[in-house]
């Protein structure tokens, strides 16, 4: 923890190095860390599963660090700065879960039946029992059962090897796996927002990226994984990018609004993929899916089943860092943000607005394509009819939740990943429809979009004397 305290300084020092030095450092880091990745990921999963312990350790570390740095006032300041932005989102999640809980309790036929037969209290009792079962399952399915984890830790070294431990960290792993496409797609939409573009076509770009990556994955054989995997990833990303760039090009050239064109491209993707999957690319008649990709194109897993976390997660984090770097540290990013914030001023500054639109759509599409790639190469390893999961549409909400900032998008995606991962367990154990999770997600979005509601409920003090952070969203439908 003390080390973490030095990091801002360290980061700044590294940041001052020329680009190639930083790239070398990054590659070196990956090469050094990769052999231990299995253990690092396991550690990460355990840290998530035992988050209260992690939190306490963190606080303890901070307290120790504060001894050298000015004691409580320093620690208070540090916490304030780090937590300020988290208060409203955290309360939003809690409130959304409470309301979701009410929905679970009072949408169950059995509850009303119990009320009629055994009186109101009987019904309420049943409702709470349902709620408890449901939320316990939601928690276990997404963050794991802490007690089981502790027990499993005690068995490490036994004859079953890592087996028991893996089984108990499946929840955290599922959460991370589920958040991967969310991160990519959320970044895609956020990047579009920054350029003033409303990319509604992420869903279609995901499909294209998925399709192309899978086709490259199975049609080329005999390549070593070092060549094949990056090739498949790149192919999927570029395909998604080019697909989206069509909309960017149309906007730049003819002024066609990207909302319309990307929606239409979505339909083209859906129909095209349906035809391809039940036609030319079909494995055998009647299967409506492609054959499986070659092993050399697998996005490798860190651990074994049932812990399915794969390298896509690391790629997603890297993509977030790169997106942030691109947007906020490069001249292209500056152009993109300027065009998004004020196209007139961009023209005045000598920027080519049309070119920037195309570039922004291309990059946005690349990121969305990567969402498909990560699903295709990391999870399904083929593509079948019905692959659409709605990530593209959820990602719009994610970008809004994350204020179009990579860090925010990653945070929001993790939240959505957690909820989605727990949904299956909740349904299988408690019979609560997975849609509840969508209700909770929507409520979180509403609360974060209108923080005044949360401030009013919890009587939070308004942020004041702080620079008003201006989130750059799309310039709207009329833009």
């Amino acid at each position: 923890m003390a080390e973490q305290e030095k990091r801002p300084g360290l980061i700044r020092r590294i940041g001052a190095q020329p680009l190639w030095v930083r790239m070398l450092l990054f590659v070196a880091l990956i090469v050094i860390v990769a052999p231990f990745s299995k253990w690092l990921i396991l550690l990460l999963l355990l840290a998530i599963g035992l988050w209260p312990v992690t939190l306490l350790l963190g606080l303890a570390g901070l307290a120790v660090a504060s001894i050298w740095r000015g004691g409580w006032p320093w620690m208070k300041d540090w916490l304030r700065r780090r937590l300020r932005g988290l208060v409203v989102p955290a309360l939003s999640v809690v409130t959304a879960l409470i309301i979701g809980g009410l929905v679970i309790m009072f949408t169950d036929q059995a509850v009303f039946q119990a009320m009629q037969e055994g009186g109101i209290l009987e019904g309420i009792r049943l409702a709470f029992a349902n709620l408890a079962t449901a939320y316990k399952a939601l928690y276990e399915g997404s963050l794991g059962n802490p007690r089981a984890i502790v027990e499993a830790l005690g068995q490490v070294g036994g004859e079953e090897g890592l087996g028991p431990l893996l089984r108990v960290v499946r929840g955290p792993s599922d959460s991370l796996v589920q958040s991967v496409p969310y991160i990519f797609a959320g970044l895609a939409v956020a990047l579009g927002f920054r350029a003033g573009l409303f990319n509604i076509g992420a869903e279609g770009q995901i499909g294209i990226g998925w399709l192309v990556a899978v086709v490259v994955g199975y049609s080329l054989t005999g390549l070593p994984a070092v060549v094949h995997l990056p090739l498949a990833i790149l192919a999927g990303a570029v395909a998604g990018g080019l697909w989206a760039a069509i909309a960017g090009f149309l906007k730049a050239r003819t002024g066609a609004h990207e909302v319309i064109t990307t929606i239409m491209l979505n339909y083209v993707t859906f129909r095209l993929s349906a035809w391809l999957l039940c036609g030319p690319l079909e494995l055998t008649q009647g299967t409506c899916r492609t054959q499986e990709i070659a092993e050399s194109a697998y996005l490798p897993w860190f651990l074994e089943r049932p812990v399915t976390i794969h390298w896509g997660f690391v790629l997603a984090l890297i993509a977030a860092v790169l997106t942030g770097w691109f947007l906020f540290r490069t001249t292209w990013g500056f152009e993109l943000r300027t065009v998004g914030a004020n196209p007139s001023a961009a023209r005045y500054g000598g920027m080519r607005v049309g070119k920037t639109f195309v570039l922004a759509m291309f990059l946005s599409g690349c990121l969305a394509g990567l969402a498909g790639v990560s699903q295709g190469l990391g999870i399904t390893r083929n593509i079948a009819l019905g692959f659409q999961a709605g990530y593209g549409f959820d990602s719009i909400a994610l970008a809004l939740l994350g204020k179009s900032h990579p860090v925010g998008v990653v945070g929001a995606s993790l939240l959505f990943g957690v909820l989605r991962a727990g949904a299956g367990r909740m349904q299988s154990v408690a019979g609560v429809p997975t849609e509840i999770v969508q209700i909770v997600q929507s409520l979180v979005i509403i609360f974060i979009a209108a923080p005044a509601i949360i401030r009013a409920i919890y009587r939070l003090r308004k942020p004041r004397e702080e620079e008003l952070e201006v989130a750059v969203f799309s310039r709207g439908w009329g833009a």
């Binding site: 304030r80 709470f128 928690y139 005045y348 500054g349 003090r461």
Partner: protein, 634 residues
């Protein structure tokens, strides 16, 4: 008259700026105290401190002799201070009465009540969570509850220490009572009558129930409030002569009446001291007069008013006493009887203000900009330029005069590459730049102060620093490879901001938080800090205060004297007359005449601008021909 409010040594620092420097003043009961100052002089900061939006770093405030601490607007309202902001805080789709009542529902409960509420609530939540896992018998649960309680106490203690929870209001008594009642009820049922292990769930349920019924409670209370409020509003408006219909929708009311609603709002909250922040900025002269009537009425009934403005005439009309602020300091305290407008202006700006720009004779050099037979269309594809001919030489100012909408906007846009020409040629330093890209033009050494600074010249949501590199972000020193070197940018920005006297708390704050004059200075700083050969300035001082106008004028002339060719486009005749060496008059997309500035009077210029050919048309034509003939060709 007694002192109702006294402020001493108020000091407020923002990062990099001393917004208020030991400001002190007293406000007496029943007087109108005017605060006069330029934009950014610290008037608004001071008022925001009084109203609790900011907290002063140093200094004391006393109200009726009692020292007070104003933490937030609720404090201010409780102390009888009301503020009418420059931008009204009204909800357009609500009625007058609703707007007035909004936010006045009584909501305060003591700290300990709140803490108890939070403790109870979160303990129950943790209790619930604990029950989900692992605990199988009562004693375990009790332990969990105890642990939960301690953890909660710690958590909330921490949050309060960190200042996340408002010190005034967090939990509602209502919520607390219902929650406690539900919990008690369910505990009784659970423990005493039917020992079932579902207790934590029941406790949780009590809280849920309380939370769910809370909105209904509020609606009820609001309805009650509204009834009472309607009656009080009528009384108040009669008493102070503020004619407003409480049931009218805000959206349907003119600005002047909306302002009255704002005033009523403060009166409704029993304000004794009214702060009016630039109230006349949005009003027509008639409405201003009405406002002054209202103000006199309020004062007559014992209210005290603080009136903020930068308009000298208004101060002389309405104020009992005047305090002038400059750079966050009080530079003068006087009254209308003792002073004059000129004296006030001097106190505001800090020196004698003279609109006649002090400039020497121009020494024109070679032709820098040459426009021949230029034609262009406006946005509706109607001809806007119908064959414009003009030239500007190094070291001279060519003023383009004309009534707005005679093609000046299009002229500037075509010259800077922002809009295509349909015919003719533009040459800068001998290069043909007809229909060249904006970047080509910029790189030739052309600076452009755009007519609409907020639309074209700045990205308002970006920090000041970023706006300073808007035109050359891609070149060293700002760029290294694909990356922007923000360290270099910030160094540069700090230097330039200091050099051009841009009043901003920090180079990192969004440009939209700056006043108009300072925004314009950002543009000037950016454009003048590059090596330039030609300056195209369109309406460079529109909407600015006296000091800023003077500053920008001085800078323009300074550039001229450095040998830059200046094309000044302005609809302000005074500005054209003051700055130009030669004046070209534009009418319906053509230059109808170009004359030397010292050979023409305002009246003649006005006639030309109106499209009337002056009597000595022939000689004017000859004059133009002559100067035209003097252009070195090629």
């Amino acid at each position: 008259m007694t002192r109702i409010l006294e402020a001493r040594n108020i000091t407020k620092r923002f990062p990099g700026v001393l917004a208020n420097d030991r400001v002190g003043f007293t406000l007496k009961e029943g007087e109108i105290l005017a605060f006069l100052g330029e934009n950014g002089a610290g008037k608004s900061t001071l008022m925001n401190i009084l109203y609790g939006l900011y907290t002063q770093d140093e200094g004391e405030i006393e109200i009726r002799g009692q020292p007070v601490e104003i933490q937030d607007p609720n404090d201010a309202i409780a102390l009888g201070i009301g503020m009418v902001h420059q931008h009204f805080q009204l909800v357009p789709v609500f009625t007058v009465a609703e707007n007035i009542v909004m936010g006045t529902e009584p909501t305060r409960f003591s700290f300990s009540w709140r803490l108890l509420g939070w403790l109870g609530g979160v303990a129950a939540l943790l209790f619930f969570l604990g029950g989900l896992f692992a605990f199988e018998n009562l004693s375990q649960w009790l332990l969990a509850a105890l642990a939960g309680g301690i953890a909660t106490a710690a958590l909330y203690g921490l949050l309060i220490l960190l200042g996340f929870l408002s010190r005034r209001l967090t939990f509602r008594l209502y919520f607390l009572l219902v929650a406690a009642a539900s919990v008690a009820l369910l505990l009784i049922r659970g423990f005493v009558l039917d020992p079932s292990p579902q207790i934590p769930l029941l406790v949780f349920g009590g809280l849920l129930f309380a939370a769910a019924s809370y909105p209904a409670m509020r609606v009820l209370a609001t309805a009650l409030d509204r009834y009472v409020a309607g009656r009080r509003i009528r009384t108040l408006s009669k008493q102070y002569g503020l004619a407003v219909d409480p049931d009218a929708l805000i959206a349907d009311l003119p600005v002047g009446v909306q302002q009255r609603v704002e005033i009523l709002k403060t009166l409704y909250r029993e304000a004794q001291i009214l702060i009016l922040d630039e109230p006349t900025a949005v009003l027509t002269p008639q409405e201003t007069d009405e406002l002054f009537e209202i103000m006199r009425g309020l004062v007559a009934q014992g209210k005290s008013i603080i009136f903020i403005t930068h308009k000298l005439k208004e101060v002389m009309t309405i104020a009992d006493r005047i305090i002038v602020l400059r750079d966050g300091r009080v530079t003068g305290e006087t009254s209308p009887e003792e002073t004059s407008e000129a004296e006030l202006a001097e106190m505001m700006v800090g020196r004698e203000v003279d609109l006649v720009v002090d400039k020497g004779k121009a020494s024109p050099g070679e032709v820098v900009l040459e426009v021949a037979n230029l034609t262009a269309e406006d946005q509706r594809h109607q001809p806007a330029l119908r064959g414009v001919d003009l030239f500007v030489r190094a070291g001279e100012v060519l003023g383009v005069a004309g009534v707005q909408g005679n093609g000046q906007t299009e002229l500037v846009e075509v010259l800077t590459g922002l809009q295509p020409a349909t015919g003719g040629t533009v040459r800068i330093l001998g290069h043909d730049v007809t229909n060249a890209s904006p970047r080509t033009v910029t790189e030739l050494g052309v600076a452009h102060i755009p007519e609409d600074r907020q639309e074209d010249g700045l990205v308002l949501s970006f920090p000041v620093a970023d706006n300073l590199m808007l035109c050359n972000y891609y070149e060293p020193p700002f760029a290294r490879g694909p990356e922007i070197r923000f360290d270099r940018l910030y160094e540069y920005a700090e230097r330039v901001v200091a050099e051009f006297d841009v009043r901003t708390p920090s180079i990192a704050i969004p440009t939209q938080n700056l006043s108009g004059g300072n925004q314009q200075k950002v543009i000037v700083a950016r454009e003048f800090s590059r090596p330039i050969k030609l300056l195209i300035a369109a309406q460079p001082t529109r909407g600015l205060d006296v000091g800023s106008i003077e500053y920008i004028h001085r800078r323009l002339i300074q550039k001229r004297d450095e040998g830059v060719a200046v094309l000044l486009v302005s609809v302000e005749l005074d500005e054209i007359m003051a700055l130009s060496d030669r004046i070209a008059v534009m009418y319906e997309g053509q230059i109808v005449g170009t004359v030397d500035a010292d050979k023409i009077t305002r009246e003649e210029l006005g006639l030309l601008m109106a499209g009337a050919r002056p009597k000595e048309e022939a000689s004017q034509e000859a004059d133009v021909q002559e100067t035209k003939g003097g252009i070195p060709v090629g």
